[in-house]
Subunit: 140 residues, 2 copies
DNA sequence: ATTCTTATTGAAACTAAGTGCATCTATAAA
DNA sequence: TTTATAGATGCACTTAGTTTCAATAAGAAT
């Protein structure tokens, strides 16, 4: 039960205002296991402070994304999921047949990241990717 | 100016009906340079046959996607883009700063595809990916 | 403590995409 | 050629996310 300090500090360092809405959105993101959706964040915040608007949640997520503090990932269930960057990087294999999700270390994509940087000077954001396809069972 | 036969043949082989709506949607996808959006397909079809509904476009795209006949890619402009698989595979580097899009051969991701198959038995669909990040200019 | 400035918020409208259901029609069977 | 039927469509509605704009309030300056 920590105080979501990491992201808050970075926001205030960079001159962004620390509104109560933002504080509550941040703790919703930093508590829990990550992979939270905008609606879930909204539900958590609204439970304590019913005046929040969901567009504030979306706007805060957009900001955190732009500052590189959270990653946004489409896991194929129709809503985007958010993960605090401070909690570590990983990827997912998502089976489009049965819906199974397998976690994947960060290292699988590092060679790609390196090639893109070397050959194109492109700094690829490959911190939390969902790779779709068919799992071992479904393609047997 | 070919007759969008490839996809039509595959649909009818597999027992799907060849409705006039589908035929018009298919030629919209197969003519042109690919990377067409659902709205653009709808506009093209509606110009000839104003009774089509856009949900038919979405449903047809869903079908073609499921059958592996088109790829769906988010190039970051708020609408998904579709590309006929028969026209070849490639990827895109999308700069989240300036919006520049650089094309990329298929080969960059083949090693990843191989590793996922070998180590997880996972058949990854990596035929038309958009990789977001910062281009050489924007990260100078 | 009060005032000021501008970032942030809430409300509502809007967009892209997906869904449920009654109707219609492409295709196969008679 | 006509009929039957399951697949496909149109329409209305829902959902996730974005945008506009007037009102509010965080944080700086006084």
């Amino acid at each position: 039960m920590k105080k979501s300090g990491e992201i808050i500090n970075k926001l205030s360092e960079q001159g962004y205002r620390l509104t109560p809405q933002r504080m509550m959105i941040l703790s919703a993101i930093e508590d829990g296991e990550g992979h939270i959706s905008a609606e879930e964040i909204y539900a958590q915040v609204a439970a304590k402070y019913s005046r929040v608007n969901i567009s504030t949640v979306y706007r805060t997520l957009e900001l955190l994304k732009r500052l590189g503090l959270v990653t946004e990932t489409d896991l194929g269930d129709g809503r985007l999921r958010y993960h605090p960057v401070g909690k570590g990087h990983h990827h997912h294999l998502v089976c489009t047949e049965c819906g199974a999700i397998v976690d994947l270390g960060e290292s699988v994509l590092s060679p790609v990241k390196d090639v893109l940087l070397r050959e194109y000077g492109f700094i690829a954001d490959l911190r939390h990717l969902a790779i779709f396809g068919r799992c071992a069972n479904c393609s047997k």
